[in-house]
Symmetry: C2
């Protein structure tokens, strides 16, 4: 039985490991929960500044715990997440602008594949997202060399820079976002609620109603196999 | 089938609403998960200072989200949690010292009942924990008037003040704690791991092994009744 249609906006930046967890969870639950899922890439740094927040790693022990926490959560979810930085996270402004520009010229399925590849590249820890070659991991199977160049060129335009800025400001102002993943859920009855983090899916399921079951991050794998 | 015995230390302060959620979850799962549960009251303010952390509410939007988040999580768990303060949390140093002194002269069951009553009093929002009458909610059914006076007197002694201080410092130094609830879990095989927050029980169950099932915050209530 398919539960009533709901819509979810996932606001993320590939620099955020908890966004990666939420991204994989939501794409896995899309059919089970009958989700009209919209992927919304943003630049986390802009949100943090607008919300007067600071990275968790600015508290040393929080940073140390985060590495351990992410490792455990990643293992449970079957994902390799290696957070390679220890102090400030690397700059993803270029990637965020690229994803925003790409969103305009791609389907949601293409945006999903590209975002997933960039999350994997990010958390393999091999290369910084500010390296010029970082986006090269998309070529040639997800994007052609030519298209990559076009989208990168457009991502540097004033139009896209302004768009990323105004959309970030609006997310903070209208929804109270202060970090990622920021997940905006609209229930079948039209009620909307925001959830922060990758650890509220159980509570989200409870809020959605009894047709929506939370079965952990790997609903596809029987418990006995884990 | 009862799974292998595990031991859990719950480090908490009644000022922390997520500690209240973790407290109720762990006392509910004690039999299901065969937990040797030790309740360990601390003073959160001391931990925050030692770990160079600051209250989530110091970021305005985080504070606003927290109120909404706690309300939803409390409703799911069947608990009334009203966070009545908006900026800095009220001072619980006196209550923390009281609970630490009481721990020395009580059974774990008594400490549990007293802690639960103080959590309820805290999140009814009627009275500040620094009010002289706050601990009066324990009299006469949980503690006699005389015993309350004795424990309060001892909680003001240099011995207890030093104990709370040194134990907090040790928790930060030895376990990397930076906030509450801080949950130290020892598995049947002797491996120990720390979990921060009230939102890691699913991951904890995964780490413990397939005999430990996470069934949400109300394992006693059939899903169909929720």
């Amino acid at each position: 039985m398919v539960p009533p249609r709901i819509s979810i906006k996932l606001c993320y930046d590939i620099v955020s490991p908890y966004s990666y967890l939420a991204f994989e969870t939501l794409t896995q639950y899309r059919e089970l929960w009958n989700i009209d899922l919209e992927l919304c890439p943003y630049f986390l740094g802009g949100i943090m500044v607008a919300a007067n927040n600071r990275p968790p790693m600015s508290v040393k022990l929080k940073g140390e715990y985060l590495s351990q926490d992410i490792k455990r959560l990643g293992e449970e979810a079957g994902l390799k997440i290696n957070v390679a930085w220890v102090n400030n996270p690397p700059n993803t402004m270029g990637v965020a602008r690229f994803l925003r520009a790409y969103k305009d010229v791609s389907s949601q399925a293409e945006l999903e594949s590209v975002s997933r590849r960039l999350f994997v590249e990010m958390f393999s820890g091999e290369r910084s997202p500010s390296d010029p070659g970082f986006l090269g991991c998309l070529v040639p199977d997800l994007i052609s060399e030519d298209k990559l160049k076009q989208v990168i060129a457009r991502s540097g335009s004033q139009e896209i820079k302004d768009l990323v800025k105004t959309e970030s400001a609006a997310l903070v102002k209208d929804y109270g976002a202060f970090g990622f993943p920021w997940i905006i859920v609209r229930r079948g009855d039209g009620t909307t609620n925001s959830f922060f983090g990758s650890d509220r899916f159980g509570n989200m399921a409870w809020w959605l109603g009894s047709e929506y079951k939370w079965q952990g991050p790997r609903p596809d794998v029987p418990k006995s196999k884990l």
